[in-house]
Symmetry: D2
Subunit: 311 residues, 4 copies
Amino acid sequence: MAFLTSNSYGKERVRLTKISRSGGRHEVHQYSVEILLRGRFEEVYTKGNNAPCIPTDTMKNTVYVVASRTEFSSPEGFALALAKQFIDRFPQIERVEVSISMERWRRIVVDGAPHPHAFVKEHGRRTARIAHGRVSGNGGYPHLEGGIAGMELFKSSGSGFTGFYHDEYTTLPETDERILATTVDARWSYLPSAAQGPEESFDGAWSTVEEIITLVFATHESPSLQATLFAMGSEVVERIPIIESISFSMPNQHHILFDLERFGIENQNRIFYGTDAPFGVINGTVSRDPVPPAGSADGGGRSGKAARGDR
Amino acid sequence: MAFLTSNSYGKERVRLTKISRSGGRHEVHQYSVEILLRGRFEEVYTKGNNAPCIPTDTMKNTVYVVASRTEFSSPEGFALALAKQFIDRFPQIERVEVSISMERWRRIVVDGAPHPHAFVKEHGRRTARIAHGRVSGNGGYPHLEGGIAGMELFKSSGSGFTGFYHDEYTTLPETDERILATTVDARWSYLPSAAQGPEESFDGAWSTVEEIITLVFATHESPSLQATLFAMGSEVVERIPIIESISFSMPNQHHILFDLERFGIENQNRIFYGTDAPFGVINGTVSRDPVPPAGSADGGGRSGKAARGDR
Amino acid sequence: MAFLTSNSYGKERVRLTKISRSGGRHEVHQYSVEILLRGRFEEVYTKGNNAPCIPTDTMKNTVYVVASRTEFSSPEGFALALAKQFIDRFPQIERVEVSISMERWRRIVVDGAPHPHAFVKEHGRRTARIAHGRVSGNGGYPHLEGGIAGMELFKSSGSGFTGFYHDEYTTLPETDERILATTVDARWSYLPSAAQGPEESFDGAWSTVEEIITLVFATHESPSLQATLFAMGSEVVERIPIIESISFSMPNQHHILFDLERFGIENQNRIFYGTDAPFGVINGTVSRDPVPPAGSADGGGRSGKAARGDR
Amino acid sequence: MAFLTSNSYGKERVRLTKISRSGGRHEVHQYSVEILLRGRFEEVYTKGNNAPCIPTDTMKNTVYVVASRTEFSSPEGFALALAKQFIDRFPQIERVEVSISMERWRRIVVDGAPHPHAFVKEHGRRTARIAHGRVSGNGGYPHLEGGIAGMELFKSSGSGFTGFYHDEYTTLPETDERILATTVDARWSYLPSAAQGPEESFDGAWSTVEEIITLVFATHESPSLQATLFAMGSEVVERIPIIESISFSMPNQHHILFDLERFGIENQNRIFYGTDAPFGVINGTVSRDPVPPAGSADGGGRSGKAARGDR
């Protein structure tokens, strides 16, 4: 006997570009949108009954219609509007997730002034995500997240790695001066009340998180990428009231001293080679409260108990 | 105040090639391995105390050492050996996850005979994954999975999509003859007892799943990709006793009729263009029992109740 | 003063799927097509005069129209038809290049018989390319090529690398037993007369080249990837009369012995790690005649004189 | 009979990170280097004679050694030093090509000041390339190029496409207001004398080219991407004396109005969808003189005669 014990479906990579024209100055919103639905779709799978099945093509159309009908200035704002449309429109949906990845376009500066409609791409992406259940209340409120993806950082000093655990297969030398390089992917959970707030607060949160991440990276004397992660996250939850927790996933992109000594040359900590594989990966969630919210950005399991920082 | 409410870390893309030479005939095991640890690592993050921190470089070394010391013939077997090594060796670990992606090498046939040491790559990959907690018992046994990834399928008949839900933004025409194209990613959970069984049973499971997926894809008159998914999954759990559930994630890679009528040419369902974006995605888990095992391959949430198929 | 000293333009990644239905058995032709034009387009660039400019959107439409109007069974055949359409239709074109990458779909076998309309993807791609100038004659005939791309090969014995040049920065140890792994990209030039021949000869050439490459890879005792390349190419031009030359570009995908001795373990040539970067790359063109045809598949420069093999 | 009619080999993706430390302020040079050799290597292929073969592993070592022994501040400077090392060291080399792709690291600003050793990645890459033959003189001098890669640009006004050629398969509507989006890849040839000049001139050239490309993109009323290309190139050769020609390859990344009218919504030129495939591609070389230098950045063929702009 076979049972369908879970299911979901949706549309990925719906690519939306919206141009807002007000007084000659254009705003560009360029999003890649993903929609994922859960609900009473079992019979689509088990009986070949398509009656409840919302075509993914309709999901795509809905993205463009909602974009045209809604005023929004942030991916969080658009995600909220889209999720509401799906929940309100389709009774068979129990939960919708909307994920957005936004390209960052910076105005080209001409004669000292930002150009009204010409842009060059910025490094890194901004993201937003909402999980919206039909029932509100405990665990059912729209869980809203912001995020930053693909922000690459590099420092050539101010990072070490010493005092770690050794077993018989440990060969890594301790060092108090190493290259630290990573690509930040961060997602943060907004307080439920923030979803009712003005969209400007999302823009403000993003800019402040970006600033905190770069400044902490630059100035934190790093004993490990883990400690740098916690320093970043602590400052985020302490400084931004509408964020209740933030999760990071950061690769440790190793740079290894090239062996020049065999050629009679002293390396002097100058010549390195980078590697793609293997790489370390460091994950962690930092919260204002000892327990993060249900359905939070934390994609993985939990360690036994929350740990408080000394900061 | 800031709290670390979850954390994990590890090593990705550890690339192992093991050559087994017995009597002139070589076996190639080519794996990309990922290790992820949870445990008592909070102080690494919160206090800069590296004492419990197992360097990811040590994880890498461990992969190669265990590969050299262990006899194995399957990624499942190697995952079991690796997970055991980590749990046994390091008391600070509470849970280890090992994920393996295996390249498939097929022997080149020379004069009608498979060559002893020359191979050409096969399409698709085999995967395995284990989540091993320190405490055994309910939920603590090693949760072992097998998988298949990147298997691309295409059919030019035997697929339709009709009778679906309409709202005002639905424009998709109904059709009883369309192209169905997808790339199968499947992961299945083994019964706990299977982890003690002979490795040959993992190879047998993989081959049977591959066969079921291709045969069901070819012969199932598909009213939707969802229904094809359930047909595949049902046959898997019904025919392979050591598998208790299987999860699929399958994109619907759309092929759209090119409009030739504007040039006075009848298309006759022959000329299509493929698109990368957007694409549909269909997920589902099929289980032998109404409730899948804790920690199962199901990556997403659950819909309210399991649905039984009529098959 | 500024001059436009060369120019070309076109359309890339035109994705065509053509289904041929004859007697219930379907044939799938799935191509990604690239069109590149040269001709009297200078004023488009230099004067903003679009009068001669064929929109790339028209190129795309033309691909689908020609696909619907033409009977073809090979990418070479479709490339010939497309190039002729462009040259015949547009007087401002002096030269058109058409490049095709074909997905390989193998019939799923059901109850011992190939299925009429269900397929699984095969590893590797087939390619074709034509460069067609307006004037025929010496150098102006349609230069037609076939190709194979992305065929990954691996052997765990029968390969060494010894006796090479040493300078003070050479540290590579000599070995008479190493792993040889590569991904073959090959392109071959057909004799001008072949373009008039039956399409089956292109299919036959492709199958024979594929067979030669795999068999030579398996059986050639390789002193270097260069020598294996020449052995492959020699057999191609000697055995396939319609091919006048073949060019290869093959990475040397290094597999390096992992240092287990520091853990008191003997490696015994069994445990390796693969690397993505850096990698070697070996290029070469093998011809039936000492001088390859003008406009041949050889993308790079020439070494001073052709070298004859002893084979 | 089989002849080797051309050959080359080398090493790709040699990943170098050099940290220069002077007075506490670090400079980062992060390059991916490719080396390609031509010369008297025929017997490696045809006779299995490795005596002249320089292992690609030696090429890799040489990259790091030269990086450690040479003072350089630009990829052009490092390319010159590397090419000279290969030509001087190995008599069997007739020609060496060195290609470099440089990551762009921008200092993080802390309290208004650029940080001495912490960086965030900038969008786009800088490139350099040298082709150095053994014999100098006409065509034999080191041909040196600079370049910019992956610079993504977008404008929502100031671009049209009208008056183009029509045939029966042309369906593209004319428009005087469209989105123009592209990713600039440009390579420019330096005058031979520039290779003897100070490295600062390469940095100056790069910055000026980047500025010209962005400013022309923003302000040029574009009748076609071709005309924008020529406007960019003209200004480059007119303003930067050490550059004798520049070649561009620019995709036309289409953004298509989404059909909202079927839902009773007026689009008003606001809602678009982006597409990955197919895309247009526009190539062109702009030179100070009617004939570009031998071995120039122009990778493709030539149109019959150079066209002079009216600018």
